[in-house]
């Protein structure tokens, strides 16, 4: 009995039909054309980066044509004899149950010109003799040794899958496996997979087995920055205001207040002169709307806040920007925190002084330079019961 738990998810959730295959519409159409015109050309070459769905597409072809698959790996293409033995007879007979057949030669670019001498030649002669469609998959089909093979086959390229599609697939898998992984992490996996669906699903499976929240957080954190960086790039490099610009921060898993700080920090890295002024003007207006939301609790203002922050800041330039900019993390909050740490003693001194002198702590802080001189009087220090740390701070 097969234990489903032991099957890798990338196999378990391999697509069945053409309809299931996402993000490769063009390739599927070409394959349909190939099947309709068979046997004008005997073979179809599916090529593309790993994990883009070549093997899945081959199995989908079998599913759609109700055929059975005869599979050959690169390692099986060792030599003439072996191929002839396996493929030779099979390709000329119908199967037992009168099902048609499809011959799948997986990963043909694994064939070595020297070691597997004759392998390619045999494959070519197979195409001649075969009564059934031959599907060949490869990562890189443009090598010289495949020239003849290309001529005799329909060539179908599979493109790298968009991360949004991968994200959708991961979400489906999560749902079926009943595992809860946060959206941040799924997005991160999808982006890092760089178009490789299999890698993404593998990553997800590994991650779901780990119960280390630290790592989950770490992955999430990385994603957060990645997405803000790409959003910043989008805002600062593009001059066109389109649908994508209006939704530019939707993918960023960060509160709008934090996005404010990122934009604020990085405006001078991209803009200068009149553009700088206009960009800060947009930011300033966005902040005015934020203030109104806070005071009036009128949340619809958020629409304008968001718009000004993205489209407003983007629209100050006439042309698209080229080049790469190393965006900086916001530093203001950190500076404020550091200063507060340093000023802790100052604050406690002011609290004591304010209480004695019937003024606010704020006023005392503001007058601190003057108070410092008055507080040189040791009698006053004693009366105010300043601690030795506080006195040290004053002496500095």
């Amino acid at each position: 009995m097969i234990n489903m738990d032991n099957i890798p998810w990338c196999e378990k959730y391999r697509t069945k039909s053409f309809e299931d295959i996402q993000g490769q519409e063009l390739a599927v159409d070409k394959v349909r054309f190939f099947l309709r015109s068979f046997p004008k050309k005997k073979a179809v070459i599916l090529h593309g980066a790993p994990g883009t769905g070549k093997t899945s597409l081959a199995y989908a072809i079998a599913y759609e044509t109700d055929s059975e698959i005869l599979e050959l790996n690169a390692s099986d293409l060792r030599n003439k004899e072996k191929i002839a033995a396996i493929i030779g007879p099979a390709s000329r007979q119908k199967s037992l149950f009168n099902k048609s057949k499809i011959i799948l030669v997986d990963e043909v670019d694994g064939v070595s010109a020297i070691k597997d001498r004759g392998g390619l030649g045999e494959l070519l002669s197979l195409l001649e003799k075969s009564a059934f469609p031959v599907i060949i998959t490869a990562n890189d089909i443009w090598q010289k040794k495949f020239n003849l093979l290309r001529q005799k086959s329909e060539v179908v390229g599979l493109k790298e899958v968009d991360y949004k599609i991968i994200l959708g697939i991961l979400n489906e898998v999560c749902e079926k496996e009943n595992c809860a992984v946060s959206g941040d992490i799924l997005t991160s996996i999808s982006i890092r997979a760089r178009g490789d669906i299999r890698a993404a699903i593998n990553d997800l499976q590994i991650l779901s087995k780990m119960d280390s929240p630290e790592l989950m957080k770490e992955v999430g954190e990385r994603n957060k920055e990645q997405s803000i960086f790409s959003a910043l790039q989008f805002v600062f490099k593009n001059s066109k205001i389109d649908d994508a610009m209006i939704k530019v921060f939707d993918e960023v898993n960060m509160p709008l207040d934090e996005i404010f700080l990122w934009i604020e920090e990085n405006i001078p890295l991209e803009y200068s002169g009149a553009e700088l002024v206009k960009a800060y003007d947009a930011l300033s207006l966005a902040d005015v709307f934020r203030g109104r939301i806070q005071r009036q609790r009128y949340w619809r203002f958020m629409v304008y806040e968001y718009f000004l922050l993205g489209a407003g800041v983007a629209s100050v330039k006439k042309y698209n920007r080229a080049g790469w900019t190393g965006y900086k993390k916001p530093s203001r909050i950190l500076k404020i925190w550091l200063q507060n740490q340093r000023a802790m003693k100052k604050k406690t001194i002011c609290i004591k002084y304010a209480k004695v002198c019937h003024i606010s702590i704020k006023t005392a802080m503001k007058d601190f330079l003057l108070l410092k001189i008055i507080l040189e009087n040791s009698k006053i220090r004693e009366q105010m019961r300043l601690s030795s740390e506080e006195i040290d701070y004053l002496e500095k």
Partner: protein
Amino acid sequence: MSVGFDSEVWTEKYRPKKFEDMVGQVEIIKRVKALTNSLNIPHLLFAGPAGTGKSTLALIIVKTLFGESWRENYLELNASDERGIDVIRQKVKDFARTKAIGDVPFKIIFLDEADALTREAQQALRRTMENYTSTCRFVMSCNYSSKILDPIQSRAVVFRFQLLEKKDIKRRVDLISDGEGLSITADAFDVLYEASEGDCRRVINLLQATASISPNITPDLVNTIVSKAKPSDIKIVLDYALSGDFVSSREKLLDIMLKESISGQDVIKAIQKEVWNLPIDNSLKVKLTEKTGEAEFRLVEGSDEFIQLEALLAGFILAGEGGIKEKKIGDI
């Protein structure tokens, strides 16, 4: 803890303790004294600039009303430090729960800098005032009464404090210099007064700081202290901006704001004053003042002061470039 009474901080040591000791605000003092003596004062609102005697008058009221036991019957809250109305309400509740000690049937709550409270907090305060009116009277102080909600103003008797006159402040300074054995030249007093903009508390602080160096107060000595106590110049920030160096300009600004603990509104006030001293065309000064006004408006409306100040600095950069251009045209 009876620190307040014999404090060596002169603003406390020489704080007037009786109505008769106060200088200026003659009419107000007359009326408040009459109310206090009748042992039934209403809620009071003192409006006026800093250092004109608002807190002092409030303290005199409680000391007159309660005598020795004034500390038990008096709660002082500073709204600019405790902005949350919940904190204030809780403290008011705790304080008002017990009956006043002595003959007076109520206690006094002094709510200093009440204009720092948000509108919502003021709305809540209004009910709090009503709920505890039998046990507590509120004395509130503020700089601008316009920032206090009408319903609160209508529940209180409003007194408007004027800036102290030079001769009034002179009387206090003379009293202190007698008590401390100082000698002050007339010029030195002028410098003290000018540097304090009529704020009596600041005059006394300056005087004490100066006297910590020498009992012979001269104009030079006062000036030394004044420049020592002056916050870093906002002008440096503007100079950077006008020269086109935005990043240094904003860095310096944040630096000053953090180190000197000054608010965005103080910064914008300083910028507004500084614009007229800048070495630029008058027409440009007008434009920059207009920009500053818009920035101050947005600062009040917005949520992050620093962003508004940055936007203003960016405007100064363009003005700097424009100014140079205009000069070039003039040269031709």
